[in-house]
């Protein structure tokens, strides 16, 4: 058996236990520390699966989140840790979630039949190669550059990025090449998301939301 897979499963188990502790503990401080441990495990998973970019980002993002959350709970007294949860909601949700898990189970066990199935872990679709036209829309042969027309093309765009990314973007880091050239528009959206959240947080944290009128009445 692949040692990497074993290590991965151990890490995933650690993440599961860590998140369960984070959820069930009564103390908010330990909850936040446990979630930090889960994030750290995720970080190791990223490194293990060949994604140092993500590991860096995940690490710093997690630090920021932890610092902010810690500040929030440390400066505020909260006596509600021990409030019981509503059992009805829990029960019904668990039912739905159980159904979900069953569905997932069904999806993940490859039925072996034909059709499009989930690719197993470690064997993504880009391992497969097809004729060059596989990447082109039907009836559009000129969409494939002439020099590649005879080669086998990877079956997924991830493979295509790997194959042509360097020569097209000249960025040694393929991930950056995708982020800022192939999918730069996504990244613009991503930058906008942060911008929206920042502006939104400013808006929510304003001291005075609206000027009250003298005759304003409570709406309930």
């Amino acid at each position: 058996m692949d040692p990497l897979l074993v290590l991965l499963l151990v890490l995933l188990g650690f993440m599961l236990i860590g998140s369960l502790i984070a959820i069930e503990t009564r103390d908010l401080l330990s909850s936040i520390i446990s979630i930090g441990a889960v994030g750290l495990a995720l970080n190791v998973v990223f490194l293990m699966l060949g994604a140092p970019d993500l590991a860096i980002t995940q690490a710093v993002v997690e630090i920021i989140i932890l610092v902010v959350l810690l500040r929030v709970i440390l400066t505020r007294r909260d006596e509600s840790y021990a409030t019981s949860r509503s059992t009805l909601a829990v029960g019904s949700v668990l039912l739905v979630l159980g159904f979900l898990v069953a569905l997932v189970f069904g999806a993940l066990s490859r039925s072996g039949g034909g059709g499009l199935q989930m690719r197993p872990f470690g064997d993504p679709l880009m391992n497969e190669s097809g004729p060059a036209t596989a990447m082109a829309p039907a009836g559009e042969p000129q969409a494939v550059p002439p020099e590649h027309r005879t080669e086998a093309m990877p079956q997924s765009i991830g493979g295509a990025y790997l194959k042509y990314g360097l020569e097209k973007t000249r960025a040694a880091n393929y991930v950056t090449g995708i982020l800022l050239d192939y999918r730069a528009y996504d990244t613009l959206g991503e930058a906008t998301v942060i911008f929206v959240a920042v502006i939104g947080a400013y808006a929510v944290l304003r001291k005075v939301g609206r000027h009250r009128h003298g005759r304003d009445v409570v709406n309930r």
Partner: protein
């Protein structure tokens, strides 16, 4: 909050600059080594956050005030949009410029990618730091307001 103990302040003094430097490296070499604008920006922000935590909010104002954070946030976003628009004028939104692509592995390579990285780095760093300040400085109504120098931004807007 006036800041933490002397030991923390001294270590912060030593470390913060290096963290910021590392952030800048991550941003600038994003197209060659792991990292990029986002990771680097967050690192830059965390250097500033460290300073705030160690020295207190009053001090941070001298380095990078809340207003400056908001302006650089918008400016970074606009620069990135302009990179896209420059491509639009040259033919396609976010087109990279073939003539500027450069040789693989050099700092000045990959066309507009380093510029975008820089813009994103500034934007993310400033934005996150701004949010952190806003969150950290937020006080309940009725508490003393002397500790919140920079959030006046919101109120000046309301007053003018």
């Amino acid at each position: 909050m006036g800041g933490m103990s002397l030991i923390v302040k001294n270590i912060t003094r030593l470390v913060a600059a290096f963290i910021a430097l590392f952030g800048a490296y991550i941003v600038l070499y994003g197209h060659l080594t792991p990292g990029g604008g986002f990771a680097g920006g967050v690192i830059l922000a965390s250097a500033l956050v460290l300073v705030v935590l160690a020295f207190g909010e009053e001090f941070s104002r001298q380095i990078f005030s809340h207003g400056a954070a908001r302006v650089s946030d918008s400016a970074g976003a606009l620069v990135f949009l302009l990179v896209g628009l420059s491509g639009y004028l040259a033919g396609a939104f976010f087109a990279n410029f073939p003539d500027l692509l450069g040789t693989v592995g050099r700092l000045a390579s990959a066309g507009t990618i380093p510029i975008s990285n820089l813009a994103i780095g500034v934007k993310v760093g400033a934005g996150l730091f701004g949010v952190f300040l806003a969150l950290a400085l937020f006080r309940r109504r009725g508490e003393r307001r002397s500790m919140e120098p920079d959030l006046e931004v919101f109120d000046t807007e309301a007053r003018s």
